[in-house]
Amino acid sequence: MSSTTHFQVVVVGAGPAGIGAAIALSKRGINSTAIVERNDQIGGIPALYKKKKGGVRTFVRWSRGGIPVFGEEYAKWLGSRLAKTKTRVFLQSQVIEIDAKERKLVLVNPDEGQMTLTADAVVLACGAREESIAERGWLMGSRPMRVYFTKQLLQLVDGNGLLPMRNPVIIGSDLIAYAAAAKLKVAGSENAVMVDNRPNPECSIFERLYFRRWSNPTFRGLTSKSVEVVGSGSASGIKFSESGEIFPCDGIMVCGELVPNSELALMGDLKVDLSTRKPILGKGFQMSESGWFAAGNILGGFHGAEWCYFNGQYVARSVIKYLSQSG
């Protein structure tokens, strides 16, 4: 039989937004808070940008004049702040069931098996992922190996010391894409060919100049309506459908274009815009069911770690207001 534990607030996701919310709740006298995290560490995506000699500092923080730092450093700082609170952290815990009306979450983790948490309020800070090839709508072709998302690049390069490709093509042209190009170059690859379905890169000129220090990708705006992935075993090129032009490569990065991780919201029948996957929100980041809130990159768009951290704190204030009104 699974046990049931009650908390005043349960936060789902221990990235910057979730940790920000937990810290703010604790500061304002909420003593019973839990964070549920599916990974075996806290810190979310920033924690994957390891601090290494020759590594690329990315724009995690904006507040102090936008000084780029390693994501890992920022995640450590978050962790040390969180450790000072009484927040209960459940690692390697996957939410498999949600009852929105009862504010009930069923988790699975290796220590307890199945367990049930109930709460007076729940904050979904589940972050975002990069859009898959099919979801982008302008990329087709074969489905070979070595078509990677940025998260996978970080796992390979920083986590395992493996260089996945020498001649990369990068799909997308935002900050994440330029950071990936830099990361690859530093790890030993050639300058990337960057392809996006827009005439100019999404990154600002200032940001591009910053990354110039490490790499100088060639940008190719989309001249035809779609591009095709080429390759049978592994990716071997990208083909512009109309012109037939092929850029050879030995790996493809699919970067940026974040999609909110709103799966749990959908699981609990909370309202979500299906085309953007953004939760539909009321005042104070409240979701469609009372006592449910959303914070961080699950809101949609692309936000840096520090933005998410502050947003989590802001949403916590709204949670406290809700608790005082309902309790």
Partner: protein, 523 residues
Amino acid sequence: MVSQVSSRGRLMYDWPDDRSDELEGLSEQSDLHPYDVAIVGAGVVGCALAYKLSQYKLRVLLLDKNFDVGEATSKGNSAIVHTGFDAAPGTLESQLVTEASRQWPEMAQKLKIPFEECGALVLAIDAEQRDELENIRAKAIKNGVEDVQRLSAEAARQLEKNIPDGVYGGLLIPRESIADPFTTTIAFAEVALANGVDILLGAEVLQIEDADKPTKKLITASKDQIATKIIVNVAGLGSRKVADLYGGGKFDINPRRGQFLIFDRYSRSAIKRILLPIPTANTKGVLIIPTIFGNLLAGPTAEDYELDATDVANTSIDMLQSLLSGASRLYPAIVDQPVIGAFSGVRCNCSQGSYFIRCNDGQHGVLTVTGIRSTGFTSSPSLADYLVRELHEKCELKLEKDPEAVDSRPESSWPGWWERPYSRNGLIKESPDYGKIICTCENISRGEISRHLDSPLQPRTLDSIKRRTRAQMGRCQGFDCQILIAEIISEHCDIPLNKVTKRGPGSEIVYDATTIVATEERG
């Protein structure tokens, strides 16, 4: 009594730098004791045939050039278990499909194949089509599918509330079903192996010697020589190439591509049954198909390619857009459903007609089986029975039942996504790995991945784990779990991480197995 272990067949992999030990003695051994039957092609038909032959006292070898069973045509289809209601009456195809559809429910239970009798609904969307429903009903009855029912528009909408308001009625086919196509092929092969069939994967047949003699020799890319009395060519799109090696007669095949769109799981609650349009003179139209995994599919297209075309398995934007508009005629709100992926199934189209089967093709003791199109998934058990009879009657294959042969898989073989390990009391306490969720879209645990790595066919590639566990098959398409799974394969099977592949050599996860990341900062 022969123990379970010693009666098991040998499992051999011809990895470029990690050949199975048993392969070294294979040539010599088969020279002394030739196989009774060598099946070239481990797709659903080849595996089903191995399964059926394993019920007899025979020496059988099943081989394939890929590094898993069901790695080609059999992995991309609609996964419908047809009743055969709309087949051309009187053909071998219709006969085998009808026969198989009655075997499926019991077989699925025995082989632990997830299977659901979801039913199908043919919809008439204008007045002219309404009259056509009667013709389809008559055809169904001719095909022995007598339980079809005509439905009024209201009755159809009561069954499926999301079909268009303007439908003119429908035809219900209650026994039309869906199943897990990956597990089907794997299950056939696993039972065959348990009953003593040898399985050789990663070995392409490049040459056949002594095809005209009673004992023939298959020669693989690695120069292994396999002596066999009978060759069965079920190599799908490779069947022409294999037939040329033994001088098989004329037949022409080509790949016919069928593209499908995959919708996220939330869509499955909207449509319960397979929805079919009325076929026109030009096209069978776009179907909406629930999958056993809980998604919806829209498809297929039918695009013919040359046999040697390289881009057959691609997907194209224009076709996928036309699929979406086709599907919206049956379920208008499908356009709002998130698409999580697209895939192409490649069917083997034969110009001389589908289900092209020729015994003693060019040589005595050679059976050619080709042109098995999409219905082959459904018909595989009855087609295999038919092939066994052909071999017995025309190739003098002696059939003596093996009393020790099993025809089912153990209860523990159900895939984890079908019978959730975490809902079993106490399992996670015993093996905590079942509580470590790796694929967060489909909630697949580390325990399930390890269990499948240890399963009878010892799969080693990312795709073979995907087909067995569903990990990487969800909406994020591996964003969260692909590298973690590669790490688990590497750790569990003691393979260096940089040698882990998606589907065998040439699809390694890194471009060059030797490169380690540079650590010094550059200029």
